[in-house]
Symmetry: C2
Subunit: 480 residues, 2 copies
């Protein structure tokens, strides 16, 4: 691999450039000719497919079903819930023509599907027997990002799933909101190896139209916060304007209680930011499309023997459900392959050459710690299983340690500002709950309340902004 | 189930109304508020997921990888290949605004992705080492259908997959075109139980921009033809305007040879048309989300015992990889359930009641023939496996018989017209290959050349239109 095919800037020197190079050069994504849009290349899509499979399985196990909604939504539907419409209006793409003809009514390109889905819910739901209705949609959403875009983190179109449910009582809806948030947390922590903080958004930051929004927030290595997923309790805010009513067993008519929730490919961006190093990205084994890359090292005379052994090892690993792959391309040198797979972040590499075959051993190279060591060929499968597990937990622990270290406390505005300016991260503060105080901090520090953590301190001191009695602990942070 | 919840018109009386009722009442799809658009409901989406899984597995086994392309395509890209643009122009939805701002350049809502994909191919391909490049995209395409729409058959947005490949030589590209067509045939015949005719489109009917289009055509029960899938050889028609070149081993620069291919949810529409009866749809076992529906029949005092037995049977069937499901809802009667599952086309029903449990037997009801019979409880799994297989082949054979019976020959225009008017179906004719003759037949009969079959008669007679020497056999038909 020639020099500029690799990552040419250090993560610690220019984090933003490093990130973009990682995304582009590892084959995760590329820029589309349309401004603000990106393309997911096979390597990136394979990661998304893994994420999808894990969540889809959980959604189905918890009684959700998939469907399809059109991407174009008539303007009149979008305006039914006023706050919702006003929130999304500035970033909606509008279809105004088909062929050369002007349309009678403008069509919005899906920014999210609440309005379309709920116009159908009012048709599908009439009795308690139709509830709960728990639907999910794997699609993409479009929101025009004019200013700053960043591949996977902020684009004009992104892959995601959106869940929409309707329930016959309030408790079932609020349980659903929390259950889904926990599923997201499971995915992000256990598979993507990224620790998260769970909690609530403030009224200012919640989803437009929701009663409240629960979310998961994580910290990126530059000290900025990233929202990873959200799960909203919509209460009856949509069921009333959309007239989604049901006849209960008591023959009384009620409006349904609703939830909506989503997670996007942004988590792939987080994965790259959190775990990557100067050589490229590093994928946690549980989510990596390829877990073990086998590189046969040969000269012309040993080629067939070494390749055969590589395939044999690959099959043994596959038999134990390890996603192994042999890079048997003759047109690239071993050195080139090492660099490429390192950049692509495959967690474990197996080098196998003619001498190793004779000595019945193989060389293993860990991507995370870059340690190299030999194992006996007969121990390969067991060693691999245990190393992959170790890599997974090592990656999580490193990230967890970063999160803990970079979550600090402040009791005064100047302390908060100095922490944000020096180390970034989350700054835990007491807050009185007033919007004015939230706005004041934003004005003085450019930081938002990222989250009101579920797990909060017992001792609330005075509000960071007004100094009056605090009612809750919140995490401030500068965000993507 | 009250009367109007069921299908209220006979298939033989009003085929079109019958079809629409089947689609809507079985829970496959529903109309979206946006004109021309439909929603796929969970039952329809589950069928699509099965189709997707079968094809995706085959695509991956044959070396294809999935990716994601944005749904909005800059106008300038779409115009690069002139014929292609002109072909799609009348039905393209255009985004002209984001929020309240006019866009500098209009964005087309994806009618198909050749142009966007190939603008990327020119960036990704530079050497023979980058070839073949074989990508696939599971997404939706939008083409404004102003006049007649029909759910799943003709809508303004449809779910599909589009494959796009680039090759270093002509033969590899033409082999790919045919290999993909065979995969589609395998899906449609072996899983959907619909016989197809494989062949070529005429130049008039081929994909705009292709060298040639191969396709699969089927016959619907009203005698109309339906195009089921297409696979195109693009030759170098796109690689030249998009400048997709590669340096070969001989260090010479060549344009790549390309293919594109797609299949849409239309095949679900075909499935309903071909197999359904007056009671609703009938799903072939291999594609049916639920293969066996178990209905426990109980009074209050036997409820728990019968339900437990039903779950036990369900688990036994599942252990043999049969997709079984127990309808244990108390709020519906058994009769209601029978009608509902009949309408939804589950291929086999198991009735189990307290007397059956005592006598260690269960009642089976076939959806296709509506036969009812008892089997010993201990034989349930084996009987089910063999019946499901029998249903699958029975459904295919019935449809095959219809196709064969309704493929007739004509040697004169008036004979062709009278066949089309009386029985419809395919009419095999000799053709001289001239566009004028194709147009003349269309004008006189409203029928198109649906396909030039690969398997053709040896003896070509004179052209059906001009009477001069015929060069090939073609199938005329009126089409959806």
């Amino acid at each position: 691999m020639t020099k500029d095919l690799g990552i040419t800037v250090k993560k610690s020197v220019d984090f933003s450039d490093w990130y973009t190079q990682c995304v582009l050069k590892s084959g995760i994504a590329d820029y589309s000719p349309g401004k603000g849009f990106i393309i997911l290349r096979p390597y990136g899509y394979a990661i998304w497919e893994n994420i999808k499979e894990i969540l889809d399985d959980q959604f189905k196990k918890t009684g959700h079903k998939n469907g399809f909604l059109p991407v174009l939504i008539p303007e009149s539907l979008l305006t039914v819930e006023k706050n919702h419409f006003e929130g999304f209006m500035p970033e909606v793409y509008w279809v105004t023509k088909s062929g050369n003809n002007d349309l009678g009514e403008k069509l919005a390109v899906r920014p999210t599907s609440e309005t379309l889905a709920y116009s159908m819910f009012s048709k599908w739901i009439s009795s308690y027997r139709d509830l709960p209705l728990k639907l999910n949609f794997w699609n993409s959403a479009l929101r025009a990002e004019i200013k700053s875009t960043k591949p996977l983190i902020r684009n004009s179109e992104f892959l995601w799933q959106e869940g929409h449910t309707a329930h016959s009582n309030e408790k079932e809806a609020s349980d659903e909101v929390r259950m889904i948030l926990d599923l997201y947390k499971m995915l992000i922590e256990q598979y993507l190896a990224i620790p998260t903080v769970s909690g609530l958004k403030t009224d200012k930051e919640k989803f437009v139209g929701a009663k409240y929004t629960t979310c998961l927030e994580s910290l990126m290595p530059d000290g900025k916060a990233l929202q990873m997923a959200t799960s909203h309790n919509l209460d009856q805010n949509f069921s009333k304007p959309f007239e989604i009513k049901f006849l209960d067993k008591d023959t009384a008519e009620h409006f349904v209680w609703q939830t909506s929730w989503g997670i996007s490919w942004r988590v792939i961006g987080a994965l790259i930011m959190v775990h990557g190093d100067d050589k490229g990205i590093i994928l946690p084994p549980k989510i990596s499309p390829t877990q073990v890359i086998i590189v046969p090292i040969y000269k012309d005379e040993s080629k067939e023997i070494v390749k055969q052994k590589a395939y044999e090892l690959e099959n043994k690993l596959k038999d134990s459900n390890i996603r192994a792959y042999t890079d048997d391309r003759d047109e690239y040198t071993s050195g080139w392959k090492f660099n490429e797979w390192e950049m692509k972040g495959v967690p474990l590499r197996v080098n196998i050459g003619i001498r190793d075959i004779r000595e019945e051993k193989v060389e293993l190279i860990r991507r995370d710690t870059r340690e190299r060591f030999y194992v006996k060929e007969k121990d390969l499968v067991n060693e691999t299983l245990s190393i992959l597990e170790n890599i997974q937990s090592n990656m999580y622990n490193l990230a967890k340690n970063y999160l803990v270290t970079n979550t600090r406390n402040a009791t005064h505005l100047d302390e908060l500002l100095s922490l944000l300016d020096s180390t970034g991260g989350f700054v835990a503060c007491s807050w009185c709950g007033k919007r004015e105080c939230e706005d004041l901090v934003k004005e003085k520090t450019t930081a938002d309340i990222r989250i009101i953590p579920f797990n909060t301190r017992k001792n609330i001191s005075s509000c960071i902004a007004c100094g009056k009695e605090g009612t809750t602990e919140v995490y401030f942070g500068r965000a993507y």
